[in-house]
Protein backbone atom coordinates (compact mmCIF):
# COMPACT_ATOMS: atom_id res chain seq x y z
CA UNK A 1 0.00 0.00 0.00
CA UNK A 2 0.99 3.64 -0.39
CA UNK A 3 0.81 6.05 2.53
CA UNK A 4 1.31 9.81 2.56
CA UNK A 5 2.03 11.92 5.65
CA UNK A 6 1.79 15.73 5.69
CA UNK A 7 3.88 17.57 8.29
CA UNK A 8 4.70 21.20 9.09
CA UNK A 9 8.01 22.56 10.35
CA UNK A 10 7.57 24.84 13.41
CA UNK A 11 9.91 26.39 15.98
CA UNK A 12 10.38 24.36 19.18
CA UNK A 13 9.75 26.89 21.94
CA UNK A 14 10.64 26.44 25.59
CA UNK A 15 8.85 27.65 28.70
CA UNK A 16 7.76 30.83 26.93
CA UNK A 17 7.08 31.77 23.32
CA UNK A 18 8.67 35.05 22.28
CA UNK A 19 7.42 37.13 19.38
CA UNK A 20 9.57 39.10 16.94
CA UNK A 21 9.47 42.89 17.25
CA UNK A 22 7.30 43.32 14.15
CA UNK A 23 4.78 40.89 15.66
CA UNK A 24 4.85 38.72 12.57
CA UNK A 25 6.32 35.51 13.90
CA UNK A 26 7.68 33.51 16.77
CA UNK A 27 11.20 34.64 17.59
CA UNK A 28 13.12 31.51 16.68
CA UNK A 29 16.56 32.88 17.58
CA UNK A 30 18.33 30.13 19.51
CA UNK A 31 15.41 27.76 19.00
CA UNK A 32 15.50 24.44 17.23
CA UNK A 33 12.70 23.37 14.94
CA UNK A 34 10.31 20.49 15.13
CA UNK A 35 6.85 19.41 14.04
CA UNK A 36 3.69 18.88 16.05
CA UNK A 37 3.66 15.77 18.23
CA UNK A 38 0.51 14.85 16.28
CA UNK A 39 2.63 14.72 13.12
CA UNK A 40 5.45 12.77 14.76
CA UNK A 41 2.83 10.16 15.59
CA UNK A 42 1.48 10.35 12.02
CA UNK A 43 4.93 9.50 10.64
CA UNK A 44 5.25 6.58 13.02
CA UNK A 45 1.81 5.34 11.97
CA UNK A 46 2.81 5.43 8.30
CA UNK A 47 5.96 3.43 9.02
CA UNK A 48 3.95 0.87 10.99
CA UNK A 49 1.33 0.53 8.24
CA UNK A 50 4.04 -0.15 5.66
CA UNK A 51 5.76 -2.62 8.01
CA UNK A 52 2.46 -4.47 8.40
CA UNK A 53 1.18 -4.34 4.83
CA UNK A 54 4.18 -3.63 2.62
CA UNK A 55 4.47 -0.74 0.18
CA UNK A 56 5.86 2.75 0.26
CA UNK A 57 5.57 5.80 2.52
CA UNK A 58 5.98 9.41 1.46
CA UNK A 59 6.30 12.61 3.50
CA UNK A 60 5.08 15.95 2.16
CA UNK A 61 5.76 19.33 3.70
CA UNK A 62 5.02 22.90 2.68
CA UNK A 63 7.12 25.73 4.06
CA UNK A 64 10.60 27.12 3.72
CA UNK A 65 13.59 25.29 2.23
CA UNK A 66 14.73 24.51 5.80
CA UNK A 67 11.85 22.03 6.12
CA UNK A 68 14.34 19.69 4.42
CA UNK A 69 15.34 18.91 8.03
CA UNK A 70 11.85 17.53 8.81
CA UNK A 71 11.89 15.43 5.61
CA UNK A 72 15.19 13.90 6.68
CA UNK A 73 13.89 13.27 10.18
CA UNK A 74 10.99 11.39 8.60
CA UNK A 75 13.42 9.35 6.51
CA UNK A 76 15.52 8.55 9.56
CA UNK A 77 12.61 6.66 11.12
CA UNK A 78 11.76 4.84 7.91
CA UNK A 79 9.75 7.02 5.50
CA UNK A 80 10.98 6.28 1.98
CA UNK A 81 10.22 9.37 -0.11
CA UNK A 82 9.90 13.12 0.45
CA UNK A 83 8.47 16.16 -1.27
CA UNK A 84 9.02 19.73 -0.09
CA UNK A 85 6.73 22.40 -1.51
CA UNK A 86 8.92 25.47 -1.17
CA UNK A 87 6.55 28.32 -0.35
CA UNK A 88 9.41 30.54 0.79
CA UNK A 89 7.34 31.17 3.93
CA UNK A 90 5.80 29.37 6.89
CA UNK A 91 2.79 31.67 6.67
CA UNK A 92 0.53 30.56 3.85
CA UNK A 93 -3.13 30.73 4.82
CA UNK A 94 -5.12 27.49 5.09
CA UNK A 95 -6.84 27.71 1.69
CA UNK A 96 -3.61 28.44 -0.14
CA UNK A 97 -1.76 25.72 1.77
CA UNK A 98 -4.47 23.16 1.01
CA UNK A 99 -4.56 24.05 -2.64
CA UNK A 100 -0.78 23.78 -3.00
CA UNK A 101 -0.71 20.45 -1.15
CA UNK A 102 -3.56 19.12 -3.32
CA UNK A 103 -1.66 20.01 -6.49
CA UNK A 104 1.49 18.42 -5.18
CA UNK A 105 -0.30 15.19 -4.23
CA UNK A 106 -1.85 15.04 -7.71
CA UNK A 107 1.56 15.18 -9.36
CA UNK A 108 3.11 12.66 -6.96
CA UNK A 109 0.21 10.29 -7.63
CA UNK A 110 0.54 10.74 -11.36
CA UNK A 111 4.17 9.68 -11.19
CA UNK A 112 4.08 6.99 -8.47
CA UNK A 113 0.45 5.87 -8.17
CA UNK A 114 -2.39 6.77 -5.83
CA UNK A 115 -2.11 6.89 -2.04
CA UNK A 116 -4.29 4.44 -0.16
CA UNK A 117 -4.10 6.50 3.01
CA UNK A 118 -3.20 10.15 3.59
CA UNK A 119 -2.33 11.07 7.18
CA UNK A 120 -2.41 14.59 8.57
CA UNK A 121 -1.83 15.91 12.08
CA UNK A 122 -5.05 16.89 13.83
CA UNK A 123 -3.96 20.53 13.68
CA UNK A 124 -0.63 22.24 13.13
CA UNK A 125 1.33 23.12 16.26
CA UNK A 126 1.51 26.83 15.48
CA UNK A 127 -1.41 28.22 13.47
CA UNK A 128 -3.92 25.50 14.40
CA UNK A 129 -6.26 26.09 11.46
CA UNK A 130 -8.02 22.69 11.76
CA UNK A 131 -8.83 22.42 8.05
CA UNK A 132 -5.98 21.69 5.64
CA UNK A 133 -6.51 17.91 5.76
CA UNK A 134 -10.24 18.22 5.17
CA UNK A 135 -9.80 20.66 2.28
CA UNK A 136 -7.19 18.49 0.58
CA UNK A 137 -9.25 15.33 1.03
CA UNK A 138 -12.40 16.96 -0.31
CA UNK A 139 -10.54 18.31 -3.32
CA UNK A 140 -9.24 14.81 -4.02
CA UNK A 141 -12.65 13.23 -3.36
CA UNK A 142 -11.59 11.07 -0.41
CA UNK A 143 -13.36 10.60 2.92
CA UNK A 144 -11.56 12.19 5.88
CA UNK A 145 -12.10 12.19 9.62
CA UNK A 146 -10.07 14.19 12.10
CA UNK A 147 -9.07 13.67 15.75
CA UNK A 148 -8.27 9.98 15.26
CA UNK A 149 -6.49 8.03 18.01
CA UNK A 150 -6.62 4.48 16.71
CA UNK A 151 -6.62 2.80 13.29
CA UNK A 152 -6.79 -0.64 11.84
CA UNK A 153 -6.44 -1.35 8.15
CA UNK A 154 -8.27 -4.28 6.61
CA UNK A 155 -7.23 -4.73 3.00
CA UNK A 156 -9.94 -7.33 2.28
CA UNK A 157 -12.84 -6.34 4.52
CA UNK A 158 -15.37 -9.07 3.58
CA UNK A 159 -16.29 -8.03 0.09
CA UNK A 160 -16.48 -4.34 0.99
CA UNK A 161 -13.05 -3.57 -0.40
CA UNK A 162 -10.18 -2.18 1.62
CA UNK A 163 -11.35 -0.41 4.75
CA UNK A 164 -9.68 1.70 7.39
CA UNK A 165 -11.26 1.57 10.81
CA UNK A 166 -10.63 4.85 12.62
CA UNK A 167 -11.36 5.55 16.27
CA UNK A 168 -11.98 8.92 17.83
CA UNK A 169 -11.81 9.40 21.58
CA UNK A 170 -14.93 10.58 23.39
CA UNK A 171 -15.58 11.36 27.07
CA UNK A 172 -16.17 7.71 27.87
CA UNK A 173 -14.53 5.69 25.12
CA UNK A 174 -14.35 5.75 21.33
CA UNK A 175 -16.54 6.36 18.31
CA UNK A 176 -15.70 4.19 15.33
CA UNK A 177 -15.61 5.10 11.64
CA UNK A 178 -15.16 2.68 8.74
CA UNK A 179 -13.58 4.56 5.86
CA UNK A 180 -13.47 2.98 2.42
CA UNK A 181 -9.93 3.30 1.06
CA UNK A 182 -8.45 5.42 -0.41
CA UNK A 183 -9.10 7.75 2.50
CA UNK A 184 -7.55 10.31 4.83
CA UNK A 185 -7.30 10.80 8.57
CA UNK A 186 -6.11 13.54 10.90
CA UNK A 187 -4.42 11.97 13.91
CA UNK A 188 -3.75 13.00 17.48
CA UNK A 189 -0.71 12.38 19.62
CA UNK A 190 -0.99 9.03 21.38
CA UNK A 191 -2.15 7.07 18.32
CA UNK A 192 1.37 5.67 18.15
CA UNK A 193 4.52 5.95 20.15
CA UNK A 194 7.18 7.39 17.83
CA UNK A 195 10.43 5.46 17.63
CA UNK A 196 13.83 7.07 17.72
CA UNK A 197 15.95 6.99 14.57
CA UNK A 198 18.57 4.27 14.44
CA UNK A 199 22.13 4.95 13.31
CA UNK A 200 21.30 3.22 10.04
CA UNK A 201 18.21 5.39 9.66
CA UNK A 202 20.21 8.53 10.22
CA UNK A 203 22.73 7.52 7.57
CA UNK A 204 19.99 6.65 5.09
CA UNK A 205 18.28 9.99 5.71
CA UNK A 206 21.41 11.84 4.60
CA UNK A 207 21.12 10.20 1.21
CA UNK A 208 17.39 10.91 0.81
CA UNK A 209 16.59 12.79 -2.40
CA UNK A 210 14.05 15.41 -1.34
CA UNK A 211 11.92 16.39 -4.30
CA UNK A 212 11.46 20.18 -4.21
CA UNK A 213 8.33 21.58 -5.83
CA UNK A 214 6.94 25.08 -6.21
CA UNK A 215 3.32 26.17 -6.24
CA UNK A 216 1.32 28.90 -7.90
CA UNK A 217 -1.57 28.61 -5.43
CA UNK A 218 -3.24 31.97 -4.76
CA UNK A 219 -3.90 33.42 -1.29
CA UNK A 220 -7.23 32.72 0.41
CA UNK A 221 -9.34 35.07 2.51
CA UNK A 222 -7.67 34.79 5.92
CA UNK A 223 -4.77 37.15 6.62
CA UNK A 224 -2.52 37.33 9.65
CA UNK A 225 -2.12 40.88 10.97
CA UNK A 226 0.08 40.19 13.97
CA UNK A 227 0.75 37.92 16.93
CA UNK A 228 0.25 38.84 20.58
CA UNK A 229 0.97 37.19 23.88
CA UNK A 230 -2.35 36.61 25.69
CA UNK A 231 -2.77 38.48 28.94
CA UNK A 232 -1.98 36.22 31.86
CA UNK A 233 -3.41 36.78 35.29
CA UNK A 234 -0.41 37.60 37.41
CA UNK A 235 -0.83 36.26 40.88
CA UNK A 236 1.68 36.17 43.67
CA UNK A 237 2.35 32.53 44.46
CA UNK A 238 1.58 31.73 48.07
CA UNK A 239 4.36 29.47 49.32
CA UNK A 240 2.73 27.02 51.71
CA UNK A 241 6.04 25.75 53.02
CA UNK A 242 9.00 23.51 52.35
CA UNK A 243 9.09 19.71 52.20
CA UNK A 244 6.86 17.47 54.30
CA UNK A 245 6.40 20.24 56.89
CA UNK A 246 4.07 21.97 54.43
CA UNK A 247 1.52 19.12 54.62
CA UNK A 248 -0.76 20.68 57.29
CA UNK A 249 -0.94 23.92 55.28
CA UNK A 250 -1.92 21.95 52.16
CA UNK A 251 -4.66 20.17 54.12
CA UNK A 252 -5.93 23.56 55.34
CA UNK A 253 -6.08 24.67 51.70
CA UNK A 254 -7.96 21.52 50.65
CA UNK A 255 -10.54 22.23 53.36
CA UNK A 256 -10.80 25.88 52.37
CA UNK A 257 -11.50 24.86 48.76
CA UNK A 258 -14.15 22.41 49.95
CA UNK A 259 -12.23 19.43 48.60
CA UNK A 260 -12.19 17.61 51.95
CA UNK A 261 -14.10 17.95 55.15
Amino acid sequence: MRVLVCVKRVPAPGAKINITEDGQSVDATNLGHTMSPHEECALELAVQLIEAHGGESHVLTLGTAEADEQCRWAASIGISKATLVDAGSMDWDPQRTASAITDSIRSIEEADGGFDVMIFGNESADTGGFQVGVRVSRALGRPMVNAIKGVEVDLEADGKGATLEARRETDNGFEVYQLPMPCAIGVKEGITWPRYPTMRGRLASKKLAVDVAVSDAVPGGQMKVRLNRPEEKVSETVILGHGSEAAPAVVELLKELGLMS
Binding site: K16, T127, G173, G221, V225, N228, T237, V238, M260
Partner: protein, 318 residues
Amino acid sequence: MSVLVVIEHDRDQLADASLEALAFAADVAAQLGVDVEALLIGVDAVSLADECAAHGASTVHHVADASLTDYGPDAYGGAVASAAGVLSPSAIVASGSDRGNEVLAYAAAELDLPFVANCLAVKTADDWEMTRVQWGGSLNEEARLASSMPILSVASHAAEVAEPVTGATATVQTLEVTLPESATATMIQDRIVLSEGVTLATAPVVVGGGRGVGSAEGFEVLEALAAKLGGIVGCSRAVTNNGWRPHADQVGQTGTRIAPQLYIACGISGAIQHWVGAKAAKKILAINTDPAANMVVKADYAVIGDLFDVLPAITDIT
Protein backbone atom coordinates in the same frame (compact mmCIF):
# COMPACT_ATOMS: atom_id res chain seq x y z
CA MET B 1 -30.16 37.91 7.59
CA SER B 2 -28.84 36.13 10.65
CA VAL B 3 -25.83 34.66 12.33
CA LEU B 4 -26.37 30.93 11.96
CA VAL B 5 -25.07 28.75 14.79
CA VAL B 6 -24.43 25.07 14.06
CA ILE B 7 -25.52 23.29 17.22
CA GLU B 8 -23.29 20.46 18.34
CA HIS B 9 -24.98 17.53 20.01
CA ASP B 10 -24.36 13.84 20.42
CA ARG B 11 -27.49 11.86 19.67
CA ASP B 12 -29.58 14.76 20.96
CA GLN B 13 -27.45 15.54 24.01
CA LEU B 14 -26.50 19.19 23.67
CA ALA B 15 -22.76 19.88 23.91
CA ASP B 16 -22.01 22.65 26.43
CA ALA B 17 -19.69 24.26 23.90
CA SER B 18 -22.76 25.01 21.77
CA LEU B 19 -24.01 27.39 24.45
CA GLU B 20 -20.73 29.27 24.24
CA ALA B 21 -21.11 29.39 20.46
CA LEU B 22 -24.62 30.84 20.88
CA ALA B 23 -23.31 33.46 23.32
CA PHE B 24 -20.46 34.37 20.98
CA ALA B 25 -22.87 34.58 18.03
CA ALA B 26 -25.10 36.94 20.03
CA ASP B 27 -22.23 39.43 20.17
CA VAL B 28 -21.53 39.11 16.43
CA ALA B 29 -25.23 39.42 15.61
CA ALA B 30 -25.55 42.54 17.79
CA GLN B 31 -22.68 44.17 15.90
CA LEU B 32 -24.43 43.39 12.62
CA GLY B 33 -27.93 44.22 13.85
CA VAL B 34 -29.29 40.78 12.91
CA ASP B 35 -30.76 37.81 14.79
CA VAL B 36 -29.13 34.63 15.99
CA GLU B 37 -30.57 31.51 14.41
CA ALA B 38 -29.69 27.91 15.15
CA LEU B 39 -29.18 24.94 12.86
CA LEU B 40 -30.15 21.59 14.38
CA ILE B 41 -29.11 18.58 12.38
CA GLY B 42 -30.74 15.17 12.99
CA VAL B 43 -34.31 13.90 13.17
CA ASP B 44 -34.66 13.94 16.97
CA ALA B 45 -32.39 16.92 17.54
CA VAL B 46 -35.48 19.11 17.32
CA SER B 47 -35.97 18.30 21.02
CA LEU B 48 -33.16 20.82 21.65
CA ALA B 49 -34.97 23.70 19.95
CA ASP B 50 -36.31 25.34 23.11
CA GLU B 51 -32.91 25.17 24.78
CA CYS B 52 -31.48 27.00 21.76
CA ALA B 53 -34.24 29.59 22.09
CA ALA B 54 -33.48 30.02 25.79
CA HIS B 55 -29.93 30.82 24.77
CA GLY B 56 -30.82 33.43 22.20
CA ALA B 57 -31.82 31.72 18.94
CA SER B 58 -34.89 33.41 17.46
CA THR B 59 -35.47 30.71 14.86
CA VAL B 60 -34.33 27.13 14.77
CA HIS B 61 -33.78 25.51 11.38
CA HIS B 62 -34.22 21.79 11.67
CA VAL B 63 -32.63 19.40 9.21
CA ALA B 64 -34.64 16.20 9.58
CA ASP B 65 -33.10 14.12 6.81
CA ALA B 66 -33.64 10.48 7.80
CA SER B 67 -30.05 9.55 7.00
CA LEU B 68 -28.78 11.93 9.69
CA THR B 69 -29.45 9.84 12.77
CA ASP B 70 -25.85 9.91 13.89
CA TYR B 71 -22.84 12.14 13.37
CA GLY B 72 -20.69 12.18 10.27
CA PRO B 73 -18.47 15.13 9.30
CA ASP B 74 -19.20 15.05 5.58
CA ALA B 75 -22.97 14.77 6.16
CA TYR B 76 -22.99 17.55 8.74
CA GLY B 77 -20.64 19.77 6.72
CA GLY B 78 -22.75 19.14 3.63
CA ALA B 79 -25.91 20.02 5.55
CA VAL B 80 -24.33 23.27 6.75
CA ALA B 81 -23.19 24.18 3.23
CA SER B 82 -26.61 23.39 1.83
CA ALA B 83 -28.33 25.39 4.59
CA ALA B 84 -26.02 28.32 3.85
CA GLY B 85 -27.19 28.22 0.25
CA VAL B 86 -30.86 28.36 1.26
CA LEU B 87 -30.64 30.79 4.19
CA SER B 88 -27.80 33.09 3.08
CA PRO B 89 -26.73 33.91 6.64
CA SER B 90 -24.40 36.84 7.37
CA ALA B 91 -22.05 34.42 9.11
CA ILE B 92 -21.83 30.81 10.30
CA VAL B 93 -20.58 29.98 13.79
CA ALA B 94 -19.88 26.70 15.62
CA SER B 95 -17.93 25.61 18.67
CA GLY B 96 -14.18 25.10 18.34
CA SER B 97 -14.41 21.45 19.31
CA ASP B 98 -13.24 18.35 17.43
CA ARG B 99 -16.61 18.15 15.73
CA GLY B 100 -17.29 21.87 15.36
CA ASN B 101 -14.00 22.54 13.62
CA GLU B 102 -14.35 19.47 11.46
CA VAL B 103 -17.87 20.30 10.32
CA LEU B 104 -16.98 23.90 9.47
CA ALA B 105 -13.86 22.76 7.59
CA TYR B 106 -16.06 20.47 5.49
CA ALA B 107 -18.65 23.20 4.93
CA ALA B 108 -16.01 25.79 4.03
CA ALA B 109 -14.33 23.39 1.61
CA GLU B 110 -17.70 22.71 -0.01
CA LEU B 111 -18.53 26.43 -0.26
CA ASP B 112 -14.96 27.34 -1.27
CA LEU B 113 -14.82 29.96 1.49
CA PRO B 114 -12.32 30.70 4.24
CA PHE B 115 -12.84 29.21 7.72
CA VAL B 116 -11.26 30.82 10.77
CA ALA B 117 -10.83 28.37 13.64
CA ASN B 118 -10.90 29.10 17.36
CA CYS B 119 -11.80 32.79 17.51
CA LEU B 120 -11.66 34.69 20.78
CA ALA B 121 -13.24 37.94 19.58
CA VAL B 122 -14.61 39.42 16.37
CA LYS B 123 -15.07 42.94 15.04
CA THR B 124 -17.36 43.05 12.02
CA ALA B 125 -16.48 45.48 9.27
CA ASP B 126 -15.99 45.22 5.50
CA ASP B 127 -13.06 42.98 6.26
CA TRP B 128 -13.78 41.27 9.57
CA GLU B 129 -11.10 41.44 12.22
CA MET B 130 -10.70 38.64 14.66
CA THR B 131 -8.50 37.52 17.49
CA ARG B 132 -7.85 33.81 17.33
CA VAL B 133 -5.88 31.16 19.13
CA GLN B 134 -2.44 30.03 17.97
CA TRP B 135 -0.08 27.52 19.56
CA GLY B 136 -2.98 25.88 21.39
CA GLY B 137 -3.61 29.06 23.40
CA SER B 138 -0.02 30.15 24.04
CA LEU B 139 -0.33 33.00 21.53
CA ASN B 140 -3.10 35.10 20.04
CA GLU B 141 -3.27 36.06 16.38
CA GLU B 142 -4.92 39.22 15.10
CA ALA B 143 -6.35 38.25 11.71
CA ARG B 144 -8.33 39.88 8.95
CA LEU B 145 -10.88 38.03 6.89
CA ALA B 146 -12.14 38.77 3.40
CA SER B 147 -15.18 36.58 2.82
CA SER B 148 -18.70 36.90 1.47
CA MET B 149 -19.89 34.67 4.33
CA PRO B 150 -17.58 34.50 7.34
CA ILE B 151 -17.33 31.00 8.81
CA LEU B 152 -15.78 30.76 12.24
CA SER B 153 -15.47 28.55 15.27
CA VAL B 154 -15.36 29.80 18.84
CA ALA B 155 -12.39 28.97 21.04
CA SER B 156 -13.26 27.14 24.21
CA HIS B 157 -14.19 29.60 27.02
CA ALA B 158 -14.08 32.61 24.63
CA ALA B 159 -17.67 33.50 25.49
CA GLU B 160 -19.57 33.37 28.72
CA VAL B 161 -22.77 31.36 28.57
CA ALA B 162 -25.71 33.65 29.24
CA GLU B 163 -28.42 32.84 31.78
CA PRO B 164 -31.13 30.93 29.91
CA VAL B 165 -34.36 32.81 29.28
CA THR B 166 -37.07 30.85 31.08
CA GLY B 167 -40.08 29.82 29.05
CA ALA B 168 -38.50 30.67 25.72
CA THR B 169 -39.87 28.68 22.81
CA ALA B 170 -38.29 28.54 19.41
CA THR B 171 -39.89 29.03 16.04
CA VAL B 172 -38.92 25.80 14.32
CA GLN B 173 -38.61 25.64 10.57
CA THR B 174 -37.89 22.43 8.74
CA LEU B 175 -35.09 22.76 6.26
CA GLU B 176 -34.61 20.49 3.26
CA VAL B 177 -30.97 20.01 2.39
CA THR B 178 -29.10 18.09 -0.26
CA LEU B 179 -26.35 15.93 1.15
CA PRO B 180 -23.22 14.94 -0.73
CA GLU B 181 -23.27 11.38 -2.04
CA SER B 182 -20.03 10.73 -0.20
CA ALA B 183 -21.69 11.50 3.17
CA THR B 184 -22.29 7.90 4.26
CA ALA B 185 -18.56 7.01 4.10
CA THR B 186 -17.76 9.06 7.21
CA MET B 187 -20.77 8.29 9.43
CA ILE B 188 -20.13 6.86 12.90
CA GLN B 189 -20.52 3.08 12.67
CA ASP B 190 -20.06 2.05 16.26
CA ARG B 191 -19.27 3.27 19.76
CA ILE B 192 -17.10 1.65 22.39
CA VAL B 193 -17.70 2.61 26.01
CA LEU B 194 -14.61 2.15 28.16
CA SER B 195 -15.36 4.02 31.35
CA GLU B 196 -18.20 5.91 32.91
CA GLY B 197 -17.49 8.38 35.63
CA VAL B 198 -14.78 10.89 36.38
CA THR B 199 -12.56 11.79 33.46
CA LEU B 200 -9.49 13.97 33.28
CA ALA B 201 -11.51 16.70 31.59
CA THR B 202 -14.23 16.75 34.27
CA ALA B 203 -12.43 15.72 37.48
CA PRO B 204 -12.73 18.16 40.43
CA VAL B 205 -9.13 17.46 41.44
CA VAL B 206 -6.27 16.50 39.14
CA VAL B 207 -2.95 15.36 40.59
CA GLY B 208 -0.44 15.79 37.78
CA GLY B 209 3.05 14.32 37.62
CA GLY B 210 5.99 15.31 35.44
CA ARG B 211 9.50 14.16 34.75
CA GLY B 212 10.23 14.72 38.43
CA VAL B 213 8.19 11.60 39.27
CA GLY B 214 11.00 9.62 37.67
CA SER B 215 9.26 6.33 36.84
CA ALA B 216 5.91 4.60 36.31
CA GLU B 217 6.07 3.24 39.88
CA GLY B 218 6.70 6.73 41.19
CA PHE B 219 3.10 7.60 40.32
CA GLU B 220 1.85 5.47 43.25
CA VAL B 221 2.25 8.45 45.58
CA LEU B 222 0.13 10.55 43.19
CA GLU B 223 -2.51 7.81 42.87
CA ALA B 224 -2.74 7.58 46.65
CA LEU B 225 -3.48 11.28 47.09
CA ALA B 226 -5.85 11.39 44.10
CA ALA B 227 -7.82 8.47 45.56
CA LYS B 228 -8.25 10.27 48.88
CA LEU B 229 -9.51 13.42 47.17
CA GLY B 230 -11.78 11.72 44.63
CA GLY B 231 -9.49 13.03 41.94
CA ILE B 232 -7.66 11.64 38.98
CA VAL B 233 -4.00 11.46 37.94
CA GLY B 234 -2.71 13.40 34.95
CA CYS B 235 0.79 13.93 33.59
CA SER B 236 3.10 15.92 31.32
CA ARG B 237 4.43 14.94 27.93
CA ALA B 238 7.83 14.08 29.42
CA VAL B 239 5.99 11.30 31.24
CA THR B 240 4.09 9.89 28.26
CA ASN B 241 7.26 10.13 26.15
CA ASN B 242 9.02 7.95 28.70
CA GLY B 243 6.17 5.46 28.61
CA TRP B 244 5.38 5.88 32.33
CA ARG B 245 1.71 6.73 31.68
CA PRO B 246 -0.64 6.36 28.69
CA HIS B 247 -1.18 9.38 26.47
CA ALA B 248 -4.80 9.60 27.65
CA ASP B 249 -3.40 11.01 30.90
CA GLN B 250 -1.47 13.85 29.23
CA VAL B 251 -2.46 17.41 30.02
CA GLY B 252 -1.63 20.15 27.51
CA GLN B 253 -1.68 21.44 23.96
CA THR B 254 -1.66 17.97 22.42
CA GLY B 255 -3.30 16.26 25.37
CA THR B 256 -6.39 17.04 27.46
CA ARG B 257 -7.45 20.48 28.65
CA ILE B 258 -8.44 20.24 32.27
CA ALA B 259 -10.55 22.61 34.37
CA PRO B 260 -10.62 21.17 37.92
CA GLN B 261 -11.21 23.06 41.17
CA LEU B 262 -7.60 22.27 42.04
CA TYR B 263 -4.67 21.10 39.96
CA ILE B 264 -1.76 19.74 41.99
CA ALA B 265 1.23 19.81 39.63
CA CYS B 266 4.08 17.68 40.98
CA GLY B 267 7.53 17.67 39.40
CA ILE B 268 6.26 19.57 36.34
CA SER B 269 8.30 22.53 35.11
CA GLY B 270 5.35 24.32 33.50
CA ALA B 271 6.36 24.52 29.83
CA ILE B 272 3.93 26.68 27.88
CA GLN B 273 2.46 23.66 26.06
CA HIS B 274 1.63 22.05 29.40
CA TRP B 275 0.39 25.30 30.92
CA VAL B 276 -2.22 25.94 28.20
CA GLY B 277 -3.87 22.65 29.11
CA ALA B 278 -3.84 23.41 32.84
CA LYS B 279 -4.57 27.13 33.06
CA ALA B 280 -8.36 26.73 33.20
CA ALA B 281 -7.97 25.12 36.64
CA LYS B 282 -9.59 27.30 39.33
CA LYS B 283 -6.53 26.96 41.58
CA ILE B 284 -3.10 25.49 40.98
CA LEU B 285 -0.78 24.09 43.62
CA ALA B 286 2.76 23.38 42.41
CA ILE B 287 5.03 20.96 44.20
CA ASN B 288 8.57 21.31 42.92
CA THR B 289 12.16 21.23 44.16
CA ASP B 290 12.91 24.32 42.07
CA PRO B 291 11.40 27.56 43.43
CA ALA B 292 12.12 29.24 40.08
CA ALA B 293 10.22 26.67 37.97
CA ASN B 294 7.65 28.29 35.70
CA MET B 295 4.91 26.18 37.29
CA VAL B 296 5.79 27.52 40.75
CA VAL B 297 5.93 31.10 39.53
CA LYS B 298 2.54 30.86 37.80
CA ALA B 299 0.73 28.77 40.42
CA ASP B 300 -1.59 30.16 43.10
CA TYR B 301 0.14 28.04 45.76
CA ALA B 302 3.38 26.15 45.96
CA VAL B 303 5.27 23.78 48.18
CA ILE B 304 9.01 23.76 47.60
CA GLY B 305 10.39 20.30 48.06
CA ASP B 306 10.75 16.75 46.85
CA LEU B 307 7.36 15.38 45.81
CA PHE B 308 8.25 12.03 47.40
CA ASP B 309 8.47 13.78 50.80
CA VAL B 310 5.55 16.14 50.33
CA LEU B 311 2.85 13.92 48.81
CA PRO B 312 2.95 11.04 51.36
CA ALA B 313 2.93 13.59 54.17
CA ILE B 314 -0.27 15.14 52.75
CA THR B 315 -1.90 11.78 52.07
CA ASP B 316 -1.13 10.66 55.65
CA ILE B 317 -3.22 13.41 57.19
CA THR B 318 -6.11 13.63 54.70
